[in-house]
Subunit: 277 residues, 2 copies
């Protein structure tokens, strides 16, 4: 359905927009941001989807990462959705910061209680990418990449590798790489998908990577050595294969914050530009 403009700000050589729309996937109103560089009337532009981490909305990345400078420079549209359904009240959705609101984990929930709304995987891959965003931004569907941070890095790696025909480039900041083996992931995947751990592997980056046989991908990952959550992230589980080259850069003294993300934003845009521009 059509998106309604929430805000518009001139930013570098483009505009930062926020839109909201009723979602047929999550059955609630969803908010997302999109940066659109100045362009010619009929021109289509390469596009990045950015997925945020736990507790974030669409706004953190927009306000704190400084990404617009590089989106303007490389002339990328950047779409940045919220991290969960909002405005629906499900018992338990606000009890903890790592499950429920702000913590959709980019899965399609199968546990009945959550399955009507917590469908962030399909929301991103189908509704937002294919239906909603193209109505407000001149997306070149053949040149789309994906990146994200922490829980959103997990989302970027799994969504990107499971949909190589839709996403041609992938990177991540401090991603959750092996959720089936850590508390954050076990809580989220168990909560949304139930006890059958076989289904969890579809949403585990290191498992998906291991089985990936699509077109060759080069994945850039930055990870701070002073990140308090390093034990939940496990970048060492991302193993290079014949189909996927993985560069994990351990960045000395950096933590899990947006100060870290901002410090390496230029490199991530350069990475995606190499594949898409």
């Amino acid at each position: 359905m059509a998106a309604t403009l929430v805000s518009k700000n001139r930013s570098f050589q483009g505009h930062q927009f926020v839109y909201k729309h009723p979602s047929s996937t999550t059955n609630c109103e969803m908010t997302f941001g999109v940066y659109i560089p100045d362009h010619q009337p009929e021109e289509k532009l390469p596009t990045l989807f950015y997925l945020s981490g736990l507790t974030c909305t669409h706004a953190n990345f927009m306000e704190k990462s400084g990404f617009q400078q590089f989106a303007s420079k490389h002339r990328f549209i950047v779409v940045h959705p919220d991290t969960s359904p909002r405005g629906v009240d499900i018992a338990g959705d606000s009890d903890s910061w790592d499950f429920g609101k702000g913590a959709g984990f980019y899965v399609n929930a199968t546990v009945e209680k959550w399955s009507k709304n917590y469908r962030m995987y399909d929301y991103i891959v189908k509704e937002l990418l294919e239906e909603v965003a193209p109505k407000v931004a001149p997306i070149d569907a053949g040149r789309v990449g994906i990146f994200g941070h922490s829980m959103g890095g997990h989302g970027a790696l799994t969504i990107g590798l499971r949909n190589p025909q839709k996403f041609k480039s992938i990177s991540a900041f401090a991603p959750i790489c092996n959720p089936i083996s850590v508390p954050w992931g076990q809580k989220a995947l168990g909560g949304y998908l139930g006890e059958d751990q076989a289904t969890w592997k579809e949403y585990d980056a290191s498992e998906v990577l291991k089985r990936y046989e699509g077109p060759k991908r080069e994945i850039l990952v930055d990870q701070g050595t002073a990140d308090n959550f390093l034990g939940q992230l496990k970048p060492e589980t991302l193993k290079e294969t014949d189909h996927v080259a993985v560069e994990v850069r351990m960045q000395k003294d950096f933590d899990h914050s947006y100060y870290f993300i901002a410090s390496f934003m230029a490199d991530h845009f350069a990475h995606h530009a190499k594949a898409l521009v």
Copy 2:
């Protein structure tokens, strides 16, 4: 008095710090941020003071402007204080967003009710610059500049021009240039200084500039054409003199937000680097 560390984050090639300290000028605890680029043990670095606008704390600039990239690149220390005393309760200090808390206007209040705490001019020029900040950062006192946004642009212009021996370079984003002639300024200056408008002129950038006879200064001002507050700002009142060259750049379609500030941050650092590095 000594400052206590509140937080420290690695950011680009340096660290973003936040400190708090008891202030003998504002008679309350003050919080400020400071970015310090990596440096040699005995090395002193050029330094910028950034003054924020109405409603801001020390944090908005730190989180939203993207300044660290350029402070790192040019190797500037950047000190960014709060906009008013905090933690003191004076009747009327929270009734409006443009007076009292978050709205110190960088003056030394003379109206008795405010004069014990609302002394942000002396706090910046004396206590923070000369006593507190040098204890936590290797400031080269001979190479200090000042800039700011909106109310903080007013602060940067007036403080910079009234203290040319301390501040060698000046710039501003959307500054309040002629507060004695607009509602924001009349409310603040009347409230803090009382009815004698002669005293207001000491805190009016266009008046101070007109009478400035110190070493030659080149002031850079950026102003968005879509700024909702343009009527309160009056950049046209900043007139070039024999002692001050003023470049006011009207930036098409930009508003009053941090998206605007971030878009021109690189140019402001280049401006200060020309004078200080």
